[in-house]
């Protein structure tokens, strides 16, 4: 990190006007236990990247099994040891990989890595604050996340392996230690890790909410906030209100596991053990509690991406965002609906059909705000003077994926269709496109767009274009065929399809998907190389406002110090989307409204 030291001379002048300059930053307080929101954001980003690589590697490994079920890869045994005896992944290892892949990508990469990074980085910079409301709690939030990820990582090295009952951790697999190898200490560590993660997201979320509400600079009214901030605000509210429900569910699960209760258990017979005495509980209760978090979680993942995409699209189309208030309203209604639709994940559990039909109705309602957002993005692009930067391409890619994945969501939201499609590859394709890859695209867009602000250097554009086009094509090549497999009834989470006559026809297709998955993974490594190379050796940013953007973060010095603005915090006089207004290319938020200026 020597370049940071070099940049320090740059920032030293940014420290004279507020309380932070008194103490001298040591390595430990600057890079490790930093209370600067920008450093914490980078910590979140890099930890998230480590997990993305690990989670991606896991998917490559289990795709290897699905694509080449009969082949043997001796090198696997040298990596995985007993989990790949004879060069073939064992079923237990396969389930462990699938479970951990889901858990880490949903929680560690797309929750902490995405909203942790960009909420921390953008909120103070874009609302005009020196730092978060409580920098100390912000630091704690990262270290709770870090501890959670260490616990999760350690679960991979226990004798019986990590938890292997799916990222949703349904009982009885998660509640009975005897249910599977992964249900033993692997599950205990999984619960501890998730509990720490809930604390982390709570500390972060409270901070984001309080900061956005209380710390806006003068003139930054709520309707002048960039849509990024609005999206991050709703994300934080969703997290603060839904994660505690998961915590309650996990506490009950701990009691079921260790103290002989039967919250989730009833009428169970275990081979070799006999009938269990647990009575009166219901495994479906856990599913309700889990999905009461789980569904808002989908939007915790998606909303930050939506916000950043709105911002990046407007900047790079040189046009105001189309329908600011409609965007805001749709964010709000998505956030509300997110809490009302959880049981659409549970249509085949024996849910009351009438209740199910209410959930169908509420679920389909989400299509309305989602469509509003999509049309607003498209009309923002319409006749814009578009600059196809890598960030912009990823933003457009996000919209494409959001449409394709969102439309299959309407299929799955119908209980009648869902009974056929539930737990097939159709579902896998749906949520990977709409939530997984789309949010990943939002994250990439954000990284490409704000990298100059984070590190004072640019990412390499050519590598960025290669990264985008291969990932974009790869995403569709991987997940589009899965829709057909799912419609044909191919269930998810199966170890080996080659033993079923009806799925033999997909052997070729599965191999194709696996091959593309590996190529796409390799290109992500290319992105990482670009990222870390550019931190140190990238082209230097010379213009404090490289994208000719209106928002406040570009009014700071190129390498802002702790406290962001060397002098006074600027005042805000207009909304952030005055692009191409009255023939002027862009008017920053800090520019006072002229006398003859037309209102937008």
């Amino acid at each position: 990190m020597s370049h940071e030291a070099a940049l320090h001379t740059h920032e030293s002048h940014g420290h004279d006007d507020h309380g932070h300059h008194e103490h001298h930053d040591t390595f430990l307080t600057k890079y490790v236990f930093s209370q600067d929101h920008k450093m914490i954001a980078k910590q979140f980003l890099i930890t998230g990247m480590v997990w993305a690589v690990l989670g991606g590697l896991m998917s490559v490994l289990f795709r290897l099994q699905l694509g080449y079920p009969d082949a043997s890869f001796p090198w696997l045994e040298s990596i995985l040891g007993k989990w790949a005896k004879g060069g073939q992944i064992t079923p237990e290892a396969y389930y462990a990989l699938v479970t951990t892949h889901g858990t880490v990508l949903v929680f560690f990469v797309l929750t902490a890595g995405l909203s942790g990074t960009f909420a921390n980085f953008l909120i103070p910079l874009q609302i005009g604050a020196r730092d978060m409301a409580s920098p100390f709690m912000n630091m704690l939030s990262y270290w709770f996340f870090f501890t959670a990820s260490i616990v999760m990582l350690s679960s991979m090295f226990v004798e019986t392996g990590p938890f292997s009952g799916g990222w949703t951790a349904y009982p009885p697999l998660s509640a009975l230690g005897d249910a599977s190898p992964g249900s033993k200490s692997g599950m205990d560590l999984w619960i501890i890790s998730m509990a720490l993660f809930v604390v982390s997201s709570l500390l972060g979320g409270l901070n984001y909410i309080a900061t956005i509400l209380n710390m806006r600079t003068k003139g930054m009214s709520m309707t002048r906030l960039p849509l990024t901030i609005w999206a991050l605000f709703f994300t934080a509210v969703l997290g603060v209100l839904s994660f505690p429900v998961l915590l309650s569910g996990l506490i009950l699960l701990i009691f079921d596991r260790n103290f002989g209760t039967s919250f989730y258990l009833s009428d169970i017979f275990v081979n070799g053990v006999g009938a269990l005495s647990n009575e009166g509980g219901s495994a479906i209760l856990f599913q309700h509690l889990f999905w009461f978090l789980g569904h808002p979680e989908v939007y915790i993942i998606l909303l930050p991406a939506m916000g950043m995409v709105s911002e990046i699209m407007s900047v790079n189309s040189r046009k105001p965002i189309f329908g600011y208030m409609a965007m805001l309203g749709s964010l709000f209604s998505i956030a509300v609906l997110a809490f009302l639709v959880w049981a659409h994940h549970m249509f085949v559990t024996g849910l009351n059909p009438f209740l199910g039909s209410v959930f169908v109705l509420l679920t389909l309602l989400i299509a309305v705000p989602s469509a509003i957002k999509v049309f607003n993005w498209l009309t923002t692009l319409w006749r814009g003077n578009i600059r196809f930067t890598p960030g912009m391409l990823f933003a457009i890619g996000f919209v494409s994926l959001f449409i394709s994945g969102g439309l299959t969501g309407i299929w799955l939201g119908n209980a009648a269709l869902d009974i056929h499609l539930h737990d097939t590859y159709f579902v896998v394709a749906h949520f990977h496109i709409v939530m997984g890859v789309a949010s990943m695209f939002g994250m990439f867009a954000g990284v490409y767009h704000w990298f100059p602000k984070m590190y004072g250097r640019y990412l390499n554009n050519s590598l960025g274009y290669i990264h985008f086009w291969v990932t974009m094509a790869g995403a569709y090549l991987i997940f589009w065929p899965m829709h057909y497999e799912g419609l044909a009834g191919m269930p998810r989470r199966y170890f080996d399809f080659s033993i079923w006559e009806s799925f033999k026809q997909f052997a070729e297709l599965n191999r194709f998907i696996s091959t593309v998955a590996m190529i796409v993974f390799a290109v992500q490594i290319l992105f990482l190389i670009n990222f870390f190379y550019s931190i140190f050796k990238g082209r230097k940013v010379l213009d404090p406002n490289p994208w000719q953007s209106n928002t406040l973060e570009w009014t700071t010095p190129i390498n802002p110090g702790h406290g962001n603005w060397p002098g006074e915090i600027p005042e805000v006089h207009r909304w952030p989307y005055d692009y191409g207004k009255d023939g002027v290319d862009f008017i920053p938020q800090t520019t006072p409204v002229g006398e003859n200026e037309s209102s937008h």
Binding site: K218, L241, S242, T261, S282, L285, R574, S599
Partner: protein, 228 residues
């Protein structure tokens, strides 16, 4: 749009940035949102309890279970008496907490100290009552996974009655305990003149919010377990 807000009424000016739209400092916003979050934790517990009750055919009659009183002879039948004492203890401690917060607003250190001490005593008294009740129930054979009681209609009861009782009252008791610890810290800080130096007793207000929330949760727990 932004033009509309600039030229709007006084009320909208709260949102124009540069100050808190709620006219409170950030810590209080955080405390309120933390309590909301905690409300969902307790809500999830109580709703789970309700769900299991709704999915079960019979349920023990609380009056047949919670009918004992400390120092009373074995087999005394005094339903609701002990728990009503616990409820009043918590309400009274909440009242003394309000008085402490109010004394803080008036910069009346003596009043803060006096009322904080009463609040802490109330909290400890509540915890003692709960400890006694748990101990008593445990002696009757009730614990997580053990339910000696039968349903009101005379059929066998599932262990979920005691499971939920111990989990939820335990989680509430844990909150009372942490509230007492917070209050003790606040008392020590008051005695050390920390708040006099700061010129305000806002920390006491935040601790008060937490304490009232604990009381609030008890209102729900009390009703759900002892009355319904």
């Amino acid at each position: 749009m932004s033009n509309v807000t600039t030229a709007s009424t006084k009320e909208a000016k709260w949102w124009n940035g540069g100050k808190s739209p709620f006219d409170v400092e950030y810590g209080k916003v955080m405390m309120w949102y933390f309590l909301m979050s905690d409300a969902f934790t307790f809500g999830a517990f109580l709703i789970s309890y309700g769900t299991v009750r709704f999915s079960t055919n019979g349920w023990p009659d609380p009056n047949a279970v919670f009918k004992s009183f400390p120092f009373a002879p074995e087999g005394v039948n005094a339903p609701l008496v002990f728990v009503s004492i616990m409820t009043f203890i918590l309400i009274v401690s909440s009242v003394t907490m309000v008085l402490a917060v109010h004394a803080g607003k008036m910069m009346d250190k003596k009043g803060v100290v006096r009322n904080m001490i009463w609040t802490i005593i109330g909290g400890i008294a509540f915890l003692s009552c709960q400890a006694w009740e748990w101990n008593h129930l445990h002696h009757e054979g009730a614990w997580w996974g053990l339910n000696p009681f039968i349903n009101a209609d005379g059929s066998a009861s599932t262990t979920n009655f005691t499971n939920f009782f111990f989990t939820i009252t335990g989680f509430h008791g844990f909150h009372v305990f942490s509230g007492v610890v917070i209050n003790i810290i606040m008392l020590i800080m008051t005695l050390m003149d920390k708040f006099e130096q700061r010129g305000h007793y806002l920390m006491i207000e935040k601790a008060g919010l937490y304490w009232h929330f604990v009381d609030l949760v008890w209102v729900f727990v009390f009703t759900c377990f002892y009355l319904l």
